[in-house]
Point group: D2
Chain length 356, copies 4
């Protein structure tokens, strides 16, 4: 099956393994005459890049992107955009010892069962390295979206420690190693994550992605719902176990009145008095902020030994040493932003088919 | 755009509005020589049918399904299966008074903005009536799945009241009007929902769908992940605001050790010692139970007046009288089961493309 | 697989067998606020209807179409349009005697080998009856196309007898039972087909479809070429064995100069001095007439006995009596027009995604 | 729109322009555990490579393919296969003088109208250079097909000069610069093409592709017909203007008896006494040879001056000097083979979804 593409009209197809010679993607459906340079994409890749702080993986990848097609004299041509990133810090030998071992929480076992073969070098195709191409595609998708649309992400929970929403400050997001919008909580997370690391453990996280300036009318009934596509997009990110829109699971607890987004006229326009719906009704954007959250499980590779088996049927213990993110959720923030950008850009093109 | 289909190889396309002459669907990709009769589908529609208890809508629809194509002498032929259900209890006149009004929490406003026209009779295409065709398609999908796969759903929370998981009893599910697996909580819900209704309010819910007997190997990296498809499928159901797999959002709180599904050999086979992952690793089934939950917001149409506007820009109050589900989540249980069946059957066909 | 749909953004999914209770289709992606009534579709179905002359099949089908969804108060709503035609003249018993027999030139053998089951009543799904839904869909597609686009078809060859192109007269097309644009040739065909029928034989045909008023710019490189989509659309019609655009196979005989469509400025606009290309260059429309031809094989079911086998491995003779078109190509004219309309409407929507 | 992919389950997405840094493709859906090396692909690219004789373009491209992903230890992994060919002989400066000029028969004008921008270097995306990736993909597709399936192509006509079919000899195909199966005609073509070249002209061609050993049962009704997919695949090749299956357009001239492929039992199996149908009935393979032909127009770029216009509205003359194939149809032979391989491999995977 052809499972390595997403999007319907802005279609991104990614290829490449963690420790192959390169990774890349093809972005098809980008309208012509948009200005696009490698720098426009690199800026987003630099945000995602590992090694930015002691809380993220020590793999040293410059992640320099090349535009191999689809751009001419600084503008998109409407032709497919081929992007390539060479794998520089590939060290396949580091993984020789796990080639027969099923690491709990990883895709080792399921890939082996499904395909009867797997590229075990650094998790191969299942590695989060693939998300670099999502971020690159997101950079292109942002060009497709009008200048008035802003997409931002933030980490709102690490382990059991959630932020205080009253302290939300978008400026804080860029000022700490966690993309945390609450500076005080960010400081607490530093201590918490240090202790997690010391104890050989790991922590999960919750990420919130907000898109502002999205016009009403994007999305569609019944299986092209904007929220359904966002759910698939976010759930397809490595280690994600849950997705919610607006109030999300909390909506189940609310009464109909408490959850209602009432409407009034303001300056001659329809204005919502609340946004419990997260900016989507009936699968279509309302013109309010699109608010999406997703949960990332704690890093599966931890120093603490875990019981497992190998491909020969031997019972083993698995303990991960070396490169190790105590909380993979941190690096998921720019990935979530990118997926939001891709989904919105795709729906923008889909909306255009309705005509004037 | 072509937004009324779901599935890749088992592809379901639905059509019809709440108060048109009929609703229907086409199911393409069903393998030949499966026994299939209208009764095989009707059994699932009867479970979904409104009017089954005082807690669900009073619309009286027999929902009798006709197989119009694709079945010959009791067997599928590999040709597209056309299903049709006539709308018997359509009362378009009941809705004349809301044709210009935007009901909070409904798709009235977004449809109008997007399409510049909407069929306002009983919410038209946005009505949950469309889910009857999902349930019908799910009945066909179950035929595609092997006999060893069992899909069951349960309501695990209404409003703030969750079940006690230690009391989980699948047999209880059929014995109360809520599909509740915890008989004691079901009794409490009766009182709770009566009070909700009396106060002119409504309640949300959480549904859990479990698929047992699913072999390891269904699903695929990277954008064909089983969990990504389940997320889209469940989020596309009316009023759903969140989806999670296994531990879901709770995984964010757990440590790496606590969330690990360790493995041991049992009788010569790989055996997992826990199922925090909900039966999916790297987007591929592990052979354990597939566990998926989704949150349904409280019914938007409530007797309590809500502030809104109409299509002429007047500020109005909207209060819903007449047919009214205090908790639409109840009826979502068979719909969630059907979506699980469709996603699994689709992935089963997708898996076959790999060959022996 | 999901093989019963065509089109990407205007997506038509057909269902139904020749002698089932009904046939139908779902047309997804139709933009909203187009006026559409059953009469708008019926007019095209009436052109295709068998029984119009002694040269086409005697099956008596009124082919009355019902719009079951997607239209509200005379306008499309953007929702899927469900169309249904009841099978009135189904006479399954007529086919009992062929249920085990493989008719040469028919799909009997291939369906049986592929699916292990087939609905043998009147060729089941393989019957040209399915083309009624193509014609109906074409009627909707014409509504999507702007008023300035005209699509017409003509029969340009029956058996070895081609028209004289100098006598081409579009008005003649409606004035003879063959859709022949050359009145004189039409008269000759009458005699020819009478003799073909008397001899228990059948004749093939070539159909030409011309779309006028198509703006430059529809189509796309590389696999979305307008001509590639036309080729698939026409080749998918029953009994079609060849498709060509513009000069088609004759282009192979021409020199580069003779085949060139030179350009000059006329009234400030680019003007082509010839149209050997059939209105398509690099897969994209030039603004000239789109010209497409396809060849239909002679009717396979003929009174003359043919050697064959049955499903039990017996050698048999097959001779067709009863309902019998000596030249099925005649009825393919409105079907070809409809496919042209569907392909163009699809590409019009695709083109819109590029934006202003 | 996403127009740079073809195939449903074996999905090939190509990217790259004639004079960009590289061209490439992603092949998604390849089953795991097939042996695959760069040499397996290179062998087919070497057949297509320009510069092989004085009758094909003098561009000097080694066309060395790299497998960048999806293969591990010599075997496919089921992951997307990324292929890259660097453009070595790119000479963008050669094209400066045509950047504003619309060459008759080329896509210059239509790309400009559609996209408002085009990469004019060597025809950019519209160049036949893209077909290198089709040939590479075809090499992978052949691995997917069982060893028993053989796909071969031949040139059967250049200009008005067709081969003598009685002299058909597959061995001859490799022994002349035209892939001609008739050695005597090949010698005549040499003289003919030399005279065409001298006169500053060009010639069209007809290519025939034959697939032997294809089992009965590939393909599907109604829009997934094997012949419909072949028609689209071949028509999407640069300069192709017509496609036919089996008798093709000649079928229109034949009587029903003459066109019948009668059947008899041979050694307990169904055996066809002729193959007018080209191995496909009702869109499904019969088990006979699949026979497909397509017509290639004469090279549009010729030394003889042609009237045209430029993008500023000036009337100009266009004469092509330098690199120049008098008959582009020659190089289309390996491309047609590759498209046949891709279509068959795609349908093989599609067929598997039926199970059993």
């Amino acid at each position: 099956m052809t499972d390595n593409s997403f999007g319907r009209l802005l279609r991104v197809t990614t290829w490449g393994e963690s420790h192959g010679s390169a990774i890349g993607c093809v972005i098809d459906g980008v309208p012509p005459r948009l200005s696009l340079s490698e720098a426009d994409i690199q800026i987003w890749l630099d945000r995602r890049r590992p090694g930015a702080s002691r809380f993220t993986s020590q793999r040293r990848e410059p992640d320099l992107v090349r535009i191999a097609s689809g751009v001419f004299e600084g503008q998109t041509t409407g032709m497919p955009i081929g992007l390539i990133i060479d794998n520089v810090d590939a060290r396949a030998d580091d993984y020789e010892d796990i080639k027969d071992r099923y690491r709990p929480g990883h895709a080792d076992y399921t890939y082996q069962v499904k395909y009867g073969i797997r590229d075990w070098r650094g998790s191969g195709r299942a590695s989060a390295r693939e998300t670099a191409m999502r971020v690159a595609a997101g950079g292109v998708a942002r060009k497709v979206l009008s200048a008035g649309i802003t997409i931002r992400g933030a980490l709102v929970q690490i382990g059991p420690h959630a932020i205080e929403r009253e302290r939300w400050d978008w400026d804080a997001v860029e000022a700490n190693p966690f993309w945390c919008p609450d500076a005080e909580t960010a400081r607490q997370w530093e201590d918490y994550l240090d202790s997690v690391r010391k104890s050989g453990s790991s922590a999960g996280a919750v990420i919130e992605i907000v898109a502002m300036g999205v016009p009403a009318g994007l999305g569609a009934p019944v299986y092209g719902k904007l929220d359904a596509d966002l759910a698939a997009a976010m759930m397809s990110i490595n280690a994600v176990k849950g997705v919610e829109i607006g109030e999300g699971f909390n909506a189940a607890r609310l009464s109909g009145e408490a959850n209602a987004d009432e409407m009034r006229m303001r300056d001659g326009k329809v204005s919502f008095l609340a946004n419990h719906a997260g900016g989507i009704l009936g699968g279509i954007s309302t013109g309010q902020d699109i608010v999406c959250r997703f949960a990332v499980k704690p890093t599966s590779s931890i120093p603490t030994p875990l019981r497992s088996v190998d491909s020969h049927g031997n019972e083993i213990d698995v303990a991960t040493t070396g490169r190790h993110d105590p909380c993979v959720g941190i690096r998921a923030v720019p990935v979530g932003e990118a997926m939001m950008a891709c989904v919105l850009a795709d729906h923008l093109l889909r909306h255009r088919t309705l005509g004037g």
